[in-house]
Subunit: 343 residues, 2 copies
DNA sequence: CTGAAAGCGCTTACAG
DNA sequence: CTGAAAGCGCTTACAG
């Protein structure tokens, strides 16, 4: 914590060349054999590393990208993060991860500080979106990829899941197994996924002729295990369904717990299906049938879109949608094979 | 993605003052009412935000901290991350999160790039430590806090868990419930926690007179669910214990799964205890008894130590140890109350 | 209290 | 191929 770091000037002095030449060698520009040798030797001897801030100031690139997700504790975001990190690291970017807690003010604070220019781009996966956020995104003079749903009027690269299709896959699966009294433990309706999944649920339930009793639809305060428990308890106090769809895996897993505690068997008495197909779905007992909404693939695509735009800022805005896949496990009555894909 | 950002010079011109004054107002230094008004108005009108890189270059602080953990997918690190984020955000720092995958080369790459000065400090929680890493840490001219165990010779602030004590708590608990044939599904022995927990297990097992059959000790390839399954299968192919201690919660949960699949009852036939007391321990069926090694507390303390050192670089090196607590749940035969603390 | 000037550590036209 | 010089956008002594 003492010795000040060597600068390009010191390396230059040591090698008996100009700082310009030091910079050129380090950036792989043309230089004579002699120059290469002298600079590299001085660099090695002094343990020189170029100052990232000085470089950023000059070249107007930070080599940093920001990633903002609602909840770093949710495995679905962990999987997305990993996929993004793989892509961006391979291209030499560092990743700043923010957990915005599903709170709009956190997201605004992040966007506000992004305006200070410490990152070259942003991948944002917001669960709540309001006009102020859309405005702030529009004002932000930075390449952005939104993972999720945004108003058409906002021209940003966009990767989305097809959660309506996912809900449909889940309900058709349960319907095919004879379930008609299907509950929905959803997340908050004021979130983008919460409201989309709710609409899809109602539409599909009607089409399939499922039981429409209002008590079968509950809304957890959050897409978390703890909130799921509370919502599932309330629902089961009022009604006994023959199947439950969780708004995500965490809600489904919390529901499984409550169902089991009440002495109901899964899947015999109550089938349970989740959404996101996180790693957790494979380790519950019984294994949780879940709709894979392609979080890794969405992460990978989001990173690609961002990197592409960084390379070509004028490129046309792209929107891609990842299609869902149902992973059937024992919680909805899979047979021998522990996991099989339907889709 | 077009309009270039306003600079302090532009704000100064707009307000009819010097750039020095703009800087002073923005940094809250003394200024006349008149000056405050004019600058703030210009700032607001132009939507000016100071350039973070330029500021960093000048003041030699980046307002960024790096956090490197072995596996962002492990809830124990998520909890630690959250605790660290709370502390550091409150002090105006951004957090760069790296997942080093338990791989030494990733950690070295990170340290190498940290030498470029893009962060003011580092919290590192390595699962593997070798001489080269210790050397690299010594060379790195940056405040560092290590969460985990480091050689005494390395003078860095240090927060550690007492995992030996944790293993002892777990084994004494199982012993008190009459278990003698206790298996250990541990993580890799070439990791710091793996080897420490192994030693503690052997020592305590001997002291308590537990069954010493070698087949009861297995080593998973990694501290993950997937690796835990493989290790647990191998162990149960060879021997049937009356209890299992997992090297962490993920290994314990994977083991619970395999145990259940083989038709053994938990806790009647086999009690299971994990380590870390992650959120997952509360949502398995049955709930998993686990040793809380204080991950949130360790994160909080690590952040504090780092912030303190940032404030006073010459402060003496500190080492703190967080004590473990046993959380008893149904997997080891808790009664009515779903969770009770022993310690 | 305020401004002019130097300088943080780089990169990059511009000459030679 | 190489060097001298300008400049990225700030902050901070230094004068006044």
């Amino acid at each position: 914590m003492t010795a000040d770091r060597p600068t390009a000037a010191r390396v230059a002095a040591h090698a008996g060349v100009s700082v310009a030449s030091v910079s050129r060698v380090l950036n792989g520009l043309s230089a004579s054999e002699e120059m290469l040798l002298r600079v590299n030797e001085a660099v090695a001897k002094l343990g020189y590393r170029p100052n990232a801030m000085a470089r950023s100031l000059k070249v107007r690139r930070t080599q940093q990208l920001a990633l903002a997700v609602a909840d770093v504790g949710n495995p679905v975001y962990v999987e997305m993060m990993r996929a993004i990190e793989v892509e961006t690291k391979a291209r030499g970017y560092r990743l700043l991860v923010s957990s915005t807690g599903g709170d709009l003010s956190d997201t605004h604070a992040l966007l506000d500080s992004l305006a200070q220019g410490f990152a070259d781009g942003l991948v944002l996966s917001p669960v709540r979106v309001d006009d102020a956020l859309v405005d702030a995104l529009r004002r932000l003079d930075l390449p952005i990829v939104v993972v999720g749903t945004v108003p058409k009027s906002l021209a940003v690269d966009n990767v989305r899941a097809n959660s309506s299709g996912g809900v449909r896959l889940a309900l058709e699966h349960l319907h095919a197994r004879g379930r008609r009294r299907i509950a929905f433990v959803n997340g908050p309706l004021d979130t983008v996924p919460g409201s989309a999944r709710r609409r899809a649920f109602e539409r599909t339930a009607r089409a399939l002729g499922l039981d429409a009793e209002p008590a079968l639809r509950v809304e957890a305060q959050d897409f978390t295990l703890a909130a799921g428990r509370v919502a599932a308890e309330a629902m089961l106090d009022a009604v006994v369904p023959d199947a439950v769809l969780g708004g995500n895996d965490l809600l489904a897993i919390a529901t499984m717990q409550v169902v089991a505690e009440r002495g109901l068997r899964i899947p015999e008495d109550v089938s349970v299906v989740g959404m996101d197909d996180t790693e957790l779905a494979g380790v519950t007992t019984p294994g949780l049938t879940s709709v894979d909404l392609g979080s890794r693939e969405r992460g990978r695509l989001a990173a690609r879109l961002l990197l592409d735009r960084l390379g070509d800022p004028s490129r046309e805005v792209q929107r891609v949608t990842v299609q869902p896949q149902l992973r059937v496990r024992r919680s909805s009555g899979a047979g021998e094979s522990d996991t099989e894909a339907e889709s």
